[in-house]
C-alpha cells in the first residue's frame, strides 16, 4: 500500500516525520500567519519597519472595529452573500435538471450537448473579459449584483452539469424504470426519485460553488465597481487611500472576508472532500 502507514516505518523516520510536519506546516502557513499578525498591529509598526516582529501594541479591537464600523465592509459582505447564494442556488438547480436530462434520456445530440458543457470548462475565462463586460454594459447589468450572479450561473453551470450528469449516470437505472412502470410523470420522477438520491452531490457541489464564487476576484473587478455591487474580495482594496496602503486594515479585512469559506469548509468538510473526489473514480 502506498503511502506506507506511519506505524509500519522505522522509529527514526517516525521521529523525523513528527519534527518535519509542524515545521512544514508553519512554513506553509507563513503568509496567513503574517496576515493575522498584521491585522492586530497599529499602523505605526509599518512605518517603523516592524513587519514580522511582535506588535508594538495590541490593536486588534481598533483595527477590526474600523473594519466593521468605519468602512463599507459590512456592505461588501452582504453583497458577497447576495451574489454567492443566488449563484449557488441557480447553478445547482440548472445543472440538476440538465444533468438529469443528459444522464437519463437517450436522444441523438445528447453526447454533443454534454461535450459542449464540458468544452465550456476549457475556455480560459480571462479571454471572455472584454466581451462579457460589453455584454453586461449593453444589457444595463454593469455594476449590478444581478449581472454578476447571471454570469456566474452561466459559467458555473458547465462544470456543475458535468458533475451532476456523471452522478445521475451512476444511479441504478432500474429505479427510474420502476417509477415509469408505476406511471409517474417524468417531472415527478426527477423531483421525488432522483433528487433525494442526489443529496450528497447537491451538498458537495453547493459547498464547492460557494467557495468558488465567494473567492472570485476577477469578475468582481471586471463587472462591478463601488460599494453598491462589489463583493468583499474586490471591496477590500477600499482600505487603500490615494497615496498609502493601509496594511493593517487590509489584513483585518482579509481575515474577515476569508472566514465564511473557511467556516463553510470546517462545517461541511465531509461534503467538501466528497465534492472534490466525486466522479473521480467511476
Amino acid at each position: 500500500m502506498f503511502p506506507t502507514p506511519l506505524e509500519k516505518t522505522s522509529r527514526r523516520w517516525q521521529i523525523s516525520y513528527q519534527v518535519l510536519l509542524p515545521l512544514m506546516l508553519i512554513i506553509w502557513l507563513l503568509p496567513l500567519i503574517a496576515v493575522a499578525n498584521f491585522s492586530i498591529k497599529p499602523e505605526a509598526d509599518f512605518v517603523n519597519g516592524n513587519y514580522w516582529g511582535i506588535p508594538s501594541s495590541f490593536d486588534a479591537f481598533s483595527n477590526y472595529g474600523k473594519v466593521f464600523f468605519e468602512s463599507n465592509m459590512p456592505r461588501y459582505l452582504w453583497n458577497s452573500l447576495f451574489i454567492t447564494i443566488p449563484t449557488v442556488i441557480g447553478a445547482v438547480a440548472l445543472s440538476c435538471m440538465a444533468g438529469f436530462a443528459l444522464g437519463i434520456y437517450k436522444f441523438r445530440s445528447n453526447l454533443l450537448i454534454f461535450f459542449i458543457f464540458i468544452a465550456g470548462n476549457f475556455v480560459p475565462f480571462q479571454i471572455l473579459m472584454v466581451p462579457v463586460r460589453d455584454l453586461t454594459v449593453n444589457m444595463n447589468l454593469y455594476d449590478t449584483k444581478t449581472g454578476l450572479v447571471l454570469f456566474h450561473i452561466a459559467f458555473q453551470t458547465g462544470f456543475c452539469t458535468l458533475f451532476m450528469r456523471n452522478f445521475i449516470r451512476a444511479l441504478p437505472f432500474p429505479l427510474i424504470e420502476a417509477a415509469r412502470v408505476e406511471g409517474i410523470s417524468e417531472w415527478r420522477i426527477f423531483l421525488f426519485v432522483v433528487l433525494p438520491l442526489m443529496k450528497p452531490a447537491l451538498a458537495a457541489l453547493a459547498v464547492l460553488i460557494f467557495t468558488f464564487i465567494w473567492n472570485d476576484y476577477f469578475w468582481a473587478v471586471v463587472l462591478t465597481q463601488g460599494p453598491t455591487a462589489q463583493p468583499v474580495t474586490a471591496g477590500i482594496t477600499e482600505f487603500n487611500s490615494q497615496f498609502r496602503a493601509a496594511y493593517h486594515l487590509m489584513s483585518a479585512g482579509s481575515i474577515v472576508a476569508a472566514l465564511p469559506p473557511v467556516a463553510m469548509f470546517f462545517l461541511m468538510q465531509k461534503h467538501f472532500i466528497a465534492g472534490l473526489t466525486l466522479g473521480a473514480v467511476k
Binding site: 505605526a44 512605518v47 519597519g49 465597481q225 463601488g226 498609502r244 496602503a245
Partner: protein, 420 residues
C-alpha cells in the same frame, strides 16, 4: 465638514458671489448640471459631496447630479464618458494628461474664464492648464514635493538646510561618514525615481528645457540631459541612496528614515502623515526646497494638480462655468483643502491654509518661490508610454549607472517612435 463649509458659504453669499456674471445679470441658473467625479476615496468623497450640496443650495433652480467613479477606474472610463452623452463637468489632471482629450476635442476651451480677474489668483498653475495656447480646466488642489529630512539628525552632525548642490553633497558626505544614508527611496514601483529626475533635470537645465523634453522636442541623448544624469550620478557614486531600493515601495522605504538609518526623503507632502504615524514629531521632521544646482535657472517645483474640466459636449455650459468659478474661489478652496477635507494645498493664492508647518512652507514655496514653473510630475508631464519606459530607465540608472548609454539609447528610440 458640511457645516463648516456651509457657514463659510453663508459668508460668501452674504458678501455676494460677485465672480458670477450669470448671477450678476440676474439670470438664475436652471436646468441640470451633471458632474462626474473621481474623488472616490472616503475623505475626498465627502469633500466632493459637500461641495456639490452647497453649490446646489446656492442655485435653487438648478438640479445638480453628482456621479462618483472609482479613481482608478475613471482613468479608463473618461474617454467613453466624454464621448457619448457627456456630463457637463469632470475631474482629471493637469498638463500633458489633458493632451488626449484636448486633441480629441472632448474638453471645452475655457480661456474666457481664465481671462476673468479672479483667475489671477490661480496663476501658479496657469501654465499647467495651458495647451496650445488655451486653458482647458481649473485646478482645485495640489501638494508640494521637496526634501523631508530628520532635523534631529542634521542637528546632531551640525548640518544646515542646503541651498545649493555643493552644500547638499557636503551634507551628504558628513552623513555617510557617520554611517547614515543621505536619502531613502523605494523604486519598486518606479515613480519615485521620476521625482529625482524632475528635480535634478529642472535644476540643471531649467523648467522650459524640462517641459520641452517632456513634449518630446529634445533628444534623450542630448548633452544637457547627460549633464542631468552626471549630476545625479555624483550622489549615486557617493552611495547616498539606501541599498536595494529597487525592492521597496515608497511606504516600505519609510522605516529607514523613521529609524534614523537615512536622513531625508524626496517625496510629496502626503508622506508627512505617514511620518507622523511612525512617531516622528514636528521637532524631528522638517522640510527644505530642493537646492539650486545651476544658479542660472529659476526654481521649478513638482506639484501634481487635480482639476475640473468642462466637456465640450456639455449641455449646461453656464452652470458648468459657474461651478468652476465656485470651486476655484478662495473660500471654497480654503475649505476643501483643510485638514478635515483633503489636507492639501489650495491653488488660489488668496486662500488660507491650516496651521501646519509643512502646508505653510509648501504654500509659500509654490505661491512665491517657484518662478520657473510648476511641474506635474514625471508620469503626468511625459506621454504615458514615454513615462513608463522612462521610469524603468531611471530605476535601472539608479542601480546600474554604468548602463547610462544603453538606457538613453532606449529612451531616445522610444521618443522617436512615440512623437514622430
Amino acid at each position: 465638514m458640511h457645516s463648516i463649509l456651509k457657514t463659510s458659504l453663508a459668508a460668501l453669499v452674504a458678501a455676494g458671489v460677485t465672480a458670477s456674471p450669470a448671477a450678476a445679470d440676474g439670470h438664475a441658473l436652471s436646468g441640470e448640471l451633471n458632474i462626474i467625479s473621481d474623488m472616490s476615496n472616503p475623505a475626498p468623497r465627502a469633500v466632493m459631496e459637500g461641495m456639490v450640496e452647497d453649490f446646489d443650495a446656492l442655485h435653487p433652480e438648478l438640479e445638480v447630479n453628482l456621479t462618483i467613479v472609482d479613481r482608478e477606474a475613471w482613468k479608463t472610463q473618461i474617454r467613453n464618458a466624454l464621448g457619448a452623452n457627456p456630463p457637463d463637468v469632470v475631474n482629471w489632471y493637469a498638463a500633458n494628461r489633458m493632451r488626449p482629450y484636448v486633441d480629441a476635442g472632448l474638453f471645452a476651451d475655457i480661456s474666457d474664464l481664465w481671462a476673468e480677474p479672479e483667475f489671477e489668483a490661480l496663476s501658479s498653475t496657469k501654465g499647467a492648464m495651458t495647451l496650445d495656447g488655451a486653458q482647458w480646466g481649473v485646478p482645485y488642489t495640489y501638494y508640494q514635493w521637496g526634501v523631508y529630512y530628520r532635523k534631529d539628525i542634521f542637528e546632531e552632525y551640525g548640518l544646515n538646510e542646503p541651498s545649493n548642490w555643493d552644500e547638499e553633497k557636503a551634507n551628504c558626505q558628513t552623513l555617510l561618514d557617520n554611517g547614515v544614508k543621505c536619502y531613502t527611496i523605494g523604486t519598486k514601483f518606479l515613480w519615485t525615481a521620476g521625482g529625482w529626475f524632475d528635480y535634478i533635470n529642472s535644476r540643471t537645465n531649467g523648467y522650459d528645457f524640462h517641459v520641452a523634453l517632456a513634449r518630446g522636442e529634445i533628444e534623450w541623448t542630448d548633452d544637457r540631459v547627460r549633464q542631468t544624469f552626471a549630476n545625479w550620478r555624483e550622489l549615486i557614486d557617493m552611495g547616498a541612496f539606501i541599498d536595494d531600493h529597487q525592492t521597496y515601495s515608497w511606504q516600505e522605504a519609510l522605516p529607514f528614515m523613521v529609524n534614523g538609518e537615512a536622513a531625508s526623503y524626496l517625496m510629496g507632502n502626503f508622506s508627512v502623515a505617514a511620518f507622523r504615524d511612525g512617531g516622528l514629531t514636528d521637532d524631528q521632521l522638517d522640510f527644505y526646497q530642493f537646492p539650486v544646482i545651476n544658479p542660472d535657472v529659476d526654481y521649478a517645483e513638482d506639484a501634481p494638480t487635480d482639476t475640473f474640466h468642462i466637456a465640450s459636449g456639455a449641455q449646461n455650459m453656464d452652470a458648468a462655468k459657474e461651478f468652476l468659478r465656485f470651486v476655484t474661489s478662495a473660500d471654497v478652496q480654503t475649505e476643501i483643502n483643510s485638514g478635515s477635507g483633503l489636507g492639501q494645498l489650495p491653488v488660489n493664492a488668496n486662500a488660507s491654509i491650516d496651521d501646519d508647518k509643512f502646508l505653510k512652507e509648501g504654500f509659500d514655496m509654490l505661491s512665491g518661490n517657484a518662478g520657473g514653473g510648476i511641474m506635474q510630475f514625471f508620469d503626468r508631464d511625459f506621454d504615458a508610454e514615454m513615462a513608463s519606459v522612462g521610469m524603468e530607465g531611471l530605476q535601472e540608472f539608479m542601480v546600474f549607472p554604468d548602463n547610462l548609454d544603453d538606457i538613453l539609447g532606449r529612451l531616445e528610440e522610444t521618443r522617436q517612435r512615440i512623437y514622430n
